[in-house]
């Protein structure tokens, strides 16, 4: 009985613990965002790192997803003779689902991991202690610029992903599959609403927070030298991806 309890209890306790720590850190980060000094230079550096440097990856991901999606949905729609609806489906899926989720996962892999590795290295080489020792709050100095940059940049990256996906889908449908151009665009304009896009933007705002918060948190909790940094980096990417998918469901159900 005791063994059964501890088998289920231990992961539960550690889950609650991690969730609590992250919530507290997020809360103090939000609070500290409004506290002087505003580190504009650090923020711009993070926006460049998380946003600008992710552009090429995001453009590739978006266009290829849109292109593949056009092919795949064509197979189904062709059977019903509804070829012209391919554009609507591609745009809908990109805007509501694929854009936010895929861009967030790419950013988690690229920038989230790097954030963890950087803060983790600072932790194990006592640089975080040094910040504390010099009376500088590490949350204010390290977390705020990164998480703020994540919140600002992620929706923009989502917009680019969606745009690339729609363009990619259009090119494949018209040039490769030979769907009627006028009908294709006409249906797309009729059925896609601004809400679909806004929905995805809301999601990517939340995902931007998740990726950067997890990156910072995992880095901050790093222990045990170079090996620890490696472990933390892996855990950061896995945790961010899982959380993105879980929150994707919650947000979808909520905004349905």
């Amino acid at each position: 009985m005791e063994r059964v309890l501890s088998f289920f209890g231990r992961p539960l306790v550690s889950f609650v613990e991690v969730a609590g720590q992250m919530a507290l850190l997020f809360y103090s980060t939000i609070k500290l965002m409004f506290k002087k000094p505003f580190r504009t230079k650090l923020l711009l550096k993070q926006i460049e790192f998380i946003g600008a440097n992710s552009l090429s990856v995001i453009i590739l991901t978006g266009s290829f997803t849109g292109m593949v999606f056009a092919f795949q949905s064509y197979i189904g729609f062709h059977k019903f003779g509804a070829d012209q609806l391919v554009g609507t489906v591609v745009a809908l899926a990109m805007a509501r689902e694929l854009g936010p989720v895929l861009s967030a996962i790419m950013v988690a892999a690229r920038a989230g991991s790097a954030i963890t590795a950087e803060i983790g290295t600072m932790k194990v080489t006592e640089q975080v202690d040094a910040l504390n020792a010099m009376a500088v709050d590490p949350v204010h100095y390290l977390f705020v610029p990164r998480i703020l940059a994540g919140l600002i940049v992620m929706p923009m990256l989502n917009a680019i992903t969606v745009l690339c996906g729609v363009v990619g889908g259009y090119l494949v449908s018209i040039k490769v599959l030979g769907i009627n151009k006028t009908l294709y665009l006409d249906y797309m304009y009729t059925y896609i609403e601004f809400d679909d896009f806004a929905n995805g933007m809301m999601k990517s705002l939340v995902f931007g927070g998740i990726v950067t918060l997890v990156g910072c948190y995992k880095g901050f909790m790093t222990r045990g030298g170079a090996e620890g940094v490696g472990r933390a980096t892996t855990e950061s990417v896995v945790m961010a991806c899982v959380l993105i998918l879980i929150f994707d469901y919650i947000l979808t159900a909520f905004m349905f």
Binding site: E118, T121, M122, T125, E126, Q127, D129, A130, N132, A133, M134, A135, V136, D137
Partner: protein, 251 residues
């Protein structure tokens, strides 16, 4: 005698593992105090408790007459500005060059104009015997140079109390001597209280005004260098003679 820091019945444990079992230690103001002891006796942990980076499990730490264990986080941050800390591996920010590292506390905590900060950075670097390295990154520096840059950064805000965590570990004998002299000179020139963690017996006896030896969570002997040279204390004798035989258990 005036004390800069007083530890009263300090206990610290991590889980079931007891590190400190009642440390009473008074650090004399304006003097150099060495804290020595075998590895794993919690010297660094003690140092972090002295400056409020880590709270003790039980007991008091009194800095300049104020108990820091009951302070609010904001008060603790203010109090910490009185301290300068040189970390074991210098803990320089590796995303910044030498100039930015030394200027960091000045940029964070003062409103000095850039020209004034430039002057202070140069002066502090000169004090630790470094010149024309402002543009170098920490990864380009040798171990000894990193420690000296770390020291320059630690004294940039002119602290009242300087803490050194194993300043000579991992340095060659000549560099050890340079760092020892630096600790001595910094203390003489700025008149600050210095606390040094070390297991380098030679430097300890050479420059310490007072020495405290830590073993098994307690202070086994506190006194001047002379006291330590003439003591019969078996722990101290074993540690100083670097012998396997004696009351100190080898882990």
């Amino acid at each position: 005698m005036e004390y800069a820091i007083e530890c009263l019945d300090l206990h610290k444990s991590f889980g079931v593992h007891k590190i400190h079992k009642g440390i009473d230690l008074k650090i004399v103001k304006g003097a150099i105090t060495y804290i020595i002891g075998p590895s794993g006796t919690g010297k660094s942990v003690l140092l972090k408790q002295l400056c409020g980076l880590m709270p003790p499990t039980k007991g008091k730490v009194i800095v300049n007459g104020q108990d820091i264990t009951v302070m609010k986080p904001e008060e603790l941050v203010q109090m910490r500005k009185k301290f300068g800390i040189l970390f074991q591996n210098a803990a320089l920010f590796d995303s910044m060059n030498v100039y930015e590292n030394v200027a960091f506390p000045l940029v964070e905590h003062t409103k000095l104009p850039k020209s004034k900060i430039d002057k202070i950075v140069q002066e502090k670097l000169r004090l630790v015997g470094l010149r024309n390295i402002e543009d170098k990154m920490p990864s380009e520096l040798s171990g000894g140079m990193r420690k000296r840059v770390g020291l320059a950064r630690a004294i940039a805000l002119e602290p009242d109390i300087m803490l050194y965590d194993e300043p000579t570990t991992g340095l060659d004998p000549i560099m050890c001597d340079v760092v020892d002299n630096l600790i001595n000179d910094t203390q003489k020139e700025l008149g600050i209280t210095s606390i040094v963690i070390s297991h380098d017996i030679e430097s300890t006896l050479k420059i310490a005004d007072y020495i405290a030896m830590l073993y098994d969570g307690k202070v086994v002997l506190y006194g001047t260098s002379e006291d330590f040279k003439t003591t019969d204390n078996p722990y101290v004798k074993q540690f100083f003679s670097a012998s396997k035989e004696g009351p100190i258990k080898i882990m």
